[in-house]
């Protein structure tokens, strides 16, 4: 829901042909309207030669509409869908590397357990946790893990499909 016509976050799903330059055209559509892309995730779909691009942007409704018109004009885009909150199943993947200080091990593992994150790699000096969850939970674990030393972090950006019919 838009509050006082101000900017808010939107999640767009683009189904496009997997060809060189498509991402650049998509990015240009937003930049020309002065919209900052919050996150962008692209990958293959269930159909060969087609990719799905999930873009999260922050914009007001009018500006977003203008960007959508630009997107619809891109030849390679087959379908553009504005995924409304409550109508989509969303998830984000986080990979985060934490420095191991022996005294913090129990707390790090407790935090991982709390968020249902998993340790996927470990060495004498660091461990890598992964979490696939809604954005809110990903933000939550990052906030908790900031108490320890984060060495490296990577988020996939939002991945989404439309809700179950």
């Amino acid at each position: 829901m838009e509050i006082d016509g101000g900017p808010m976050k939107y999640t767009l799903s683009c189904l496009a042909y997997n060809r060189p330059g498509v991402l650049a055209k998509v990015a240009k559509s937003f930049s020309e309207e002065g919209i900052n892309i919050y996150s962008l995730a692209a990958g293959e779909t269930e159909v060969e030669d087609k990719s799905r691009i999930i873009i999260v942007v922050e914009a007001d409704a009018d500006t977003l509409r203008r960007a959508e018109i630009r997107l619809e004009r891109i030849e390679e885009i087959i379908r553009l869908h504005d995924l409304k909150e409550g109508e989509l199943i969303e998830m984000e993947l986080l990979l985060i590397k934490i420095r191991i200080k022996p005294e913090y091990i129990p707390q790090i593992l407790q935090t991982a357990e709390l968020f249902n994150a998993h340790v996927i790699a470990v060495s004498d000096v660091s461990m890598v946790l992964t979490l696939a969850a809604e954005e809110k939970r990903v933000n939550g674990i990052i906030k908790m893990l900031k108490k320890f030393e984060i060495l490296e972090m990577c988020r996939s950006g939002k991945l989404a499909v439309s809700g179950i019919d």
Partner: protein, 305 residues
């Protein structure tokens, strides 16, 4: 085998050192089976404990008569069925007994009442079961935890399990406590074998000196933890490999299988006690034989001081 490595040998002799200790009052609930009654009787005859039997008096006397066990000089506290655990727990609370043993009663029901806050059994530690065994060939004693209480402990619970087991090892007189965190292999394998991760991280955590003076290493497969030849053959180094005197198993199934393979298949002696509470708790399996129950009483008594 280096006999000056801080290890202790000969389980039978070690357990029998209780005979030189002050005799203690032990409360026994539901003493209705032959193995429990025999073990209590033997422990009393050896001057280890003064047993207080809590249960339905008629039934206790009837069972003792049936199994031909003399209990005439034992104190019996009659209690209605539903009040037995409560009566015994109050004895621990008011100091009229130093530790407790369970007879013919399910473990779940026993702990459900015993751990009620009013009896003040709980401490800052969680409860965990510690088993005591002897390697047949060398008679070297090792402890294992947890085969009975914690089903699939997370890392935080494993810290308590290690702490309880290390404390037991020290009280037994083991000089250099060497803890092996068990898994199926010696390498970290993620995500397939989470026990290997906990083992590795427990070793790192021990650098904080939380457990005091002891060596912790892992992951180890069972043979490489206890048998120096196996460890040497596989080129597994470190002071714990092949020489561990405390084993921490990743889950209750592993512990249970080790316990049962020693006691059921090999018919070897074992002793078990639950630690982490305000006193040792003897919780034998109802199917454990007389020897295990007696050994467990002795083990608990040794850990009391």
């Amino acid at each position: 085998m280096n006999m000056n490595d801080g290890d202790i040998y000969d389980m039978h002799s070690t357990l029998n050192t209780v005979r030189g200790l002050e005799v203690c009052r032990m409360v026994v609930i539901y003493p209705y089976d032959r193995a429990t009654l025999r073990s209590i009787s033997a422990a009393r005859d050896e001057g280890i404990v003064i047993p207080i039997l809590v249960g339905q008096e008629d039934r206790i006397r009837e069972c003792a008569e049936r199994y031909d066990i003399t209990i005439e000089e034992m104190e019996i506290v009659h209690s209605e069925e539903e009040k037995i655990i409560e009566r015994a727990s109050l004895m621990l609370l008011n100091g009229s007994a130093r530790f407790i043993m369970k007879g013919m009663l399910g473990t779940g029901a026993f702990f459900h009442t015993l751990l009620e806050p009013r009896f003040k059994i709980r401490t800052k530690r969680i409860l965990s079961h510690v088993g005591m065994f002897e390697i047949p060939k060398t008679k070297r004693i090792f402890l294992m935890s947890d085969a009975a209480i914690n089903i699939l402990p997370n890392f935080s619970r494993k810290i308590h399990i290690v702490a309880n087991a290390v404390e037991a090892a020290r009280r037994l007189g083991i000089g250099r406590v060497k803890v092996a965190m068990l898994a199926a292999i010696e390498k970290i394998n993620l995500p397939a074998m989470p026990a290997t991760l906990d083992a590795f991280l427990m070793k790192k955590f021990s650098e904080t000196r939380y457990f005091g003076e002891c060596e912790i290493d892992g992951p180890f497969a069972f043979d490489n933890a206890l048998d120096p030849e196996c460890a040497d053959t596989k080129g597994i180094g470190g002071s714990v490999a092949g020489r561990a005197n405390v084993l921490i198993v990743p889950n209750i199934e592993t512990g249970n299988v080790i316990w049962k393979s020693i006691t059921c298949l090999q018919k070897k002696e074992a002793a078990g006690v639950v630690l982490g509470g305000s006193c040792p708790i003897v919780v034998p399996s109802r199917s454990d034989d007389f020897r295990i129950k007696l050994a467990s009483i002795k083990f608990a008594r040794l850990l009391l001081d």
